[in-house]
């Protein structure tokens, strides 16, 4: 089976909001979270989607 979309990583400031098998990056501030998400987006060739103010996911499309 070919997976079309996959969550490559999650970036959050609230660790208790995320769980599971994807890589989770915990950040102190919103700015740090945005910087980490921007870097991961470029590195992983995925798109950073915002699920809430505290949680970004990097998704491969």
């Amino acid at each position: 089976m070919k997976m079309e979309k996959a969550i490559l990583a999650a970036v959050t400031t609230k660790t208790n909001k995320v769980a599971g098998s994807a890589a989770v990056f915990t950040c102190e501030t919103k700015e740090e979270m945005e910087a980490v998400a921007a870097n991961l987006e470029a590195i992983l060739d995925g798109i950073a989607h915002a699920l809430s103010d505290h949680l970004y996911i990097i998704v491969k499309h």
């Binding site: 798109i47 970004y56 499309h61």
Partner: protein, 290 residues
């Protein structure tokens, strides 16, 4: 030299000229290779020869010679496969791909143009042999006019109205008018999108065309044509900067989000209006056979 020499030469000449006429390189950028052109010119020459020779064969009561035309049909079907394979291979390296529907349309056009060449040569040679040279020249001119007419299908402006619209963000959601496009998380990307992006709303003119513009292949063709004509603000490794089209489920309008390098809304509107309606996307839900 015999009585068939000049009619055959004339038929081949007209047929090959027809193929040259139909092999024009435009913004679709294909075929740009000199060798690609030579392939099609050679095949056009073969097609012209086949169409031409059918007439003297019939006149000489060599009816089995006509079965050569069936051979031609299978050969030209190969042309379609060849074009499809080449374009599909190349499509993976486009920043905004053509999409399979568009490729299929191009491949079919390449095949059918060879048949048009066969018909032209056939008719022209028939006129030459049955009447005279002047009638044959007249038939050639008529064939050119008809090919020009048939070669271009309808354009998007025939079936939809194109209007420029505003891009906006509601939280992380990008919208063209009220049509949701995608979720863009990073504020940096959102700024880029608002700076370089453009939005258009395509409203179907009738109920029947709703499914045509909803076709994913047709939508991809719009994005490809706009990106070719106006450039695209995108690179590999920036998947967030991707032109997209989404549909309003309530009324069948589609929202076009593009990232052109040439920031000219009027030009973009012209380009979208001139996008060909893909034959494979056309559906006629209101037509039925009684």
């Amino acid at each position: 030299m015999n009585e068939y020499t000049y009619p055959i030469l004339f038929g081949i000449l007209v047929g090959t000229a027809m193929r040259v006429y139909m092999l024009r390189t435009d913004y679709r950028q294909y075929p740009t290779y000199l060798h690609g052109k030579i392939i099609h010119l050679s095949l056009g020459f073969i097609a012209a020869s086949l169409g031409t020779i059918a007439i003297p064969s019939i006149m000489e009561k060599e009816f089995t010679a006509v079965t050569f035309l069936t051979l031609a049909a299978s050969q030209f079907r190969e042309v379609r496969n060849m074009e499809r394979n080449t374009l599909t291979e190349m499509d993976a390296f486009e920043l905004v791909p053509r999409g399979n529907t568009y490729i299929e349309g191009i491949a079919v056009a390449f095949e059918s143009r060879n048949y048009l060449v066969i018909f032209t040569s056939f008719i022209v040679t028939l006129c030459y042999l049955a009447v005279n040279l002047w009638v044959a020249i007249g038939a050639a001119i008529v064939a050119f006019i008809m090919c020009t007419f048939w070669m271009s299908g309808s354009k998007l402006s025939d079936i939809v109205t194109v209007e420029e619209s505003t891009l906006s963000f509601d939280g992380a959601g990008l919208y063209v008018d009220n049509i949701y496009i995608m979720n863009i998380g990073l504020p940096e990307r959102q700024e880029e999108i608002l700076k370089y992006g453009m939005g258009f709303i395509l409203t179907p003119k009738s109920f029947s065309v709703r499914s045509t513009i909803a076709n994913l292949g047709q939508r991809q063709a719009i994005l490809h044509d706009v990106s070719v004509s106006l450039g695209v603000f995108r690179d590999s490794g920036t998947p967030a900067l991707v032109p997209l089209i989404k549909r309003d489920l309530n009324d069948g309008r589609i929202g076009v989000f593009i990232l052109p390098q040439l920031q000219d809304p009027l030009r973009a509107k012209e380009v979208i209006s001139a996008v060909p309606v893909l034959e494979n996307a056309i559906q006629m839900p209101s037509k039925k056979i009684d």
